[in-house]
Symmetry: D2
Subunit: 347 residues, 4 copies
């Protein structure tokens, strides 16, 4: 059985979804909807069999559509997602799930009540490199995780309705949440606006997540960098990993390097005694699989079997929650924002 | 005339100073002093003509010594420096100048009153790459500076009396102070301790400096990284620079890339309008000159002419002040520390 | 006016041609022909408007087709190309033009007599990087060219009807011919067969072209390399260029470095006196344009205006001539093969 | 017991030998001899205890000297080496052993008759990276060796009495001889002269060694390259290795990648059938040991125990033999030179 999908939004990301839903044997694109007829014309070549329309209501009203994929600006996710869920459709939303925790909670609750699948397209979770990294951590290859350091910087692409944090950090936050399976205790963030003379839209941001037990996760996102960097370091007590997403083949490098501490009462008086362990470097083979293809397959499977996706609504909500708190920290010039209060929705 | 120098401390950094003072035609190493006779024996080959001794008082009492170079643990800098100044000697101190602002102020004041040269060995200021970068900024090649992002990470070398911030960040802070010629308004910092079971000594730290007008300088220093990175990005409104100190020849890359903003009232309602400018990359030739050699020459020249060194006591004090404030921010779990109160000493 | 094209061959390269002819406003794909119906089905999505057929004769007989694009195994190029020319069609052939000089000459002669365009898809000539490099050389930025060194190695992709030399070297030979505009005087080549137990198909080959005046061009092509390298060095008397096709943005680096010789009679007795010049490195901005799109546009323009393409039949013939001579040198275990005898066809 | 050494030649390489003989507990530098008193003065600081002299005869006549280390121009190696051997001294010679096979044979024969150690400073054999690579090959990790490809190129350093082949290729030839333990059947080489207007001294050279069974070893040495490359690929049937000597830590990378051939009679008619195996990449930890230190220790041990060094005279002779044959091939514009005739000296 093929899941019949309508794609809402034919701008930057929509065509990628159309292409992958078309290529997957588990899904079929029935319709594409956008307000702009010119965009609809451009995507028609991607799937000539799909109907194109500017009439959203008509799409939601069609009974031969099982699921709606939303690839529109972030501030429209909640409205479109709720409308789709209320029309009885399963929903896939481009990241981030929504523009606020309140909106995200509403989506999660609506999907829960209706028993529908709500999934966020956190594409990186479905990439072979992140899956390999997840496998290494789950197999305790790295030992205790000491820190995560993520750098995702390049020149542009400026978004019109979100800042660099909401645009780029969802990728890294989703990877960290997936890898660690833990919730941070607090967040602090800084940002700066240079391109926007109204100083509303940050184009550089730094964010730090504190976890209990000394684990620190730090993020640098930047739309003004002259160079493109996609570097993600996971430091562990046994081994450490550098994940460079720009490497064509050796994306993951596992370093059998670390420190051995020799703290004794005597030594503690004079400082710490540390020795180093320097071993081999190992780069596991990473399959050449398109993450988006894996993502749409997973969505189709979850819809078919009514199962929870890895990046379900609750997952997406956790990411939005951190983003909202980080944004609040930026506005507070770096004040620490607690993340331990319970969420309203227990998804 | 050669400046006659005694080097105090023959541990990790001292031998580098001995070698460079010996190689310079402007300086002569008269004595080397350390508490550990074994160390003294090891450095003798570096300069067989220099006397080695464990008797500090004797060294300070010698009238044929013009200057004292201090390469000892940070907490001893102030005591040794003051003793040397009070003995009428010019002083060169390994970075950072002292372990606290109070100590640093005392050193600066003592040198001022006695009319002696006090210089801090912030070696990077004397490297051809930083000098080239300074030249580019002073010639307004980069336009308005938007941000600085510095990453200095590697495995070890753990210090016994300072944490990673006091050990590594003085390099980057000195470069930023030298390049920008501006004082930050506030600092925030985070850190984590993993090697030290007493949780006293941070081995990872992040620090952000806020300047008036939106300029942000961020620093990542880390003793636990499996990979060594020495990357320093300066983003400007006209051009941007990436300075990679590990590159053997192309250390500086100038990117003629940036954004052009088109903010109008109409557009501002919908977000920012930005277009990109992508131009050439240029890597100026960097001379292969040993920075330490330039540093000792500069010290000798300043001593001879009684001039202010580039990295004089006041410079070193500014660096210590930021370090102390950052340390306080770390202990306050990232609370912002104001840097605008006037210093006690106007050097 | 759009050039109406039929594509013959829907295997590895054909789909790329179909996609680019479809995307170009100057061309239209009228038909796709292949012996294998399964392949035809797979490419239908690329251009649903194009007819698919296994009947070559029917395609050649259609009067609404202006040009035939051939993307079939090398040994079939001559037969298909002649048939297309004799049917009055302009012809674009995948590189290399043909499997032998004799075949290539026949194609060139046929096209000349009929006044039809014959073009070889030497795609690299239409890449922004090679065009930039050509511009630098034509502007005499490099001075006298001393040598070219080309490395094109990776694991696979083994071809079934040609060896590594005929598969990979046409790229580099076309670039060298285009850049230098000179014919080599002789060729020598070596090869080795490891994958083919019948020792018929070389998977590693080295080739050297000698030009008058000391210019040397050397090539390493290899299907067995564990790493992928696409590196092309052009050494000149004034400047030198390294062209790394795997670099995402800085593909071309111009090095203002070289030697200055001081040969005098006296010195010549004792050897050469050389000093070095080490200057800046400059990486000109390279546009992000799809070379194949430029290539199909150029083909369409040449067909429309009846002009000679840059990579016309005569160009393709010169490349085949070197390949054939190099193959002969390999079989002669590296014996030098003269390339100065005149070609039969003066195209 | 320490081996008492005199170093002849205090130019480019001599100081490195002096430093390492001085640092080794197994050796002691008794004297340094050079024709140029200025050089002698410069090296005195390296070992103040060593006598410096311009009188070679006096050095050879001293009975408190066990061994002579020769670091002079290549054309002087034979004369100096023979004089030292005839004076009853063990001899270490900078690479290459001599300027001709005849000279090298004479040295080997003289050492053999006198029962003295004759060793060539082929430093790379004593580097941790080459030792690691040797270990991998000896443990049959790579399977059958298919090819070796070596690139050693940079700008300068021009030598005055040898061309680029005699200057740089001894490194790579020594590594290949050591790793493979096999003699090539023939050599072909090309070269070009650009800096030398008398066209006597090649500054670019390519060389290929043919071994029985299809193994091919190829070398590119170049004094005119704008970039420095030190890359050595060993392709095997099981695994392949890339050894990049410029990498600070990951010098050796082992690729578990290759091809699987499926040649059958049926397939052979249509070409070869090959599939690919793409596995992990592994970079074994390489110790940070100074190769020269290991080399001088090995020399001291061989002198003390009267054992054959790894790079003994016979080893050095094999390298010279290939160099001489390659030079002859260059002069013959790439004609193949047989290497299978027996050597006069069976060392």
């Amino acid at each position: 059985m093929q899941v019949r999908v309508a794609v809402i939004g034919a701008g930057y990301w929509g065509p990628n979804l159309i292409r992958n839903f078309t290529a997957s044997p588990r899904t079929r694109v029935v319709a594409v909807c956008d307000r702009d007829p010119a965009r609809l014309q451009r995507v028609q070549a991607l799937n000539p069999a799909a109907a194109t329309t500017t009439d959203l209501e008509a799409v939601l009203g069609r009974t031969d559509i099982d699921a709606i994929a939303i690839a529109t600006p972030v501030h429209t996710h909640a409205g479109l997602g709720l409308a789709a869920l209320r029309a009885g459709k399963h929903v896939l939303v481009e990241k981030p799930l929504a523009a606020s925790v309140a909106q995200a909670e509403e989506l999660v609750e609506e999907a829960r009540q209706r028993g529908l699948v709500l999934m966020v397209d956190h594409t990186f979770l479905y990439s072979p490199a992140v899956r390999k990294l997840k496998g290494l951590i789950d197999a305790d290859e790295l030992g205790e995780i000491y820190y995560v350091d993520s750098v995702r910087i390049n020149l542009g692409l400026f978004q019109h309705d979100v800042n660099v944090l909401w645009d780029l950090a969802p990728h890294d936050l989703s990877i960290v949440d997936h890898l660690l399976g833990r919730a941070p205790a607090s967040v602090t963030a800084f940002g700066a606006c240079h391109a926007d003379i109204h100083k509303q839209t940050e184009d550089i941001a730094y964010m730090s997540l504190d976890y209990d037990g000394g684990l620190l996760a730090s993020f640098h996102v930047n739309w003004l960098s002259p160079v493109k960097i996609r570097q993600f370091i996971v430091g562990g007590s046994k081994k450490s990993v550098v994940y460079n997403d720009l490497e064509p083949t050796e994306k993951i490098k596992v370093y059998d390097r670390g420190i051995i501490t020799h703290n004794t009462d005597v030594e503690a008086r004079h400082g710490i005694m540390v020795s180093y362990r320097v071993g081999d470097v190992w780069s596991p083979h990473i399959e050449q699989v398109e993450p988006l293809q894996t993502m749409v397959s997973h969505f189709a499977e979850c819809v078919t079997r009514r199962e929870r996706p890895i990046s379900d609504g609750a997952f997406g909500l956790r990411i939005v929650r951190i983003l909202e708190a980080a944004q609040s920290s930026i506005k507070g010039r770096g004040q620490r924002v607690n993340l331990l209060r319970p969420l309203r929705v227990v998804a």
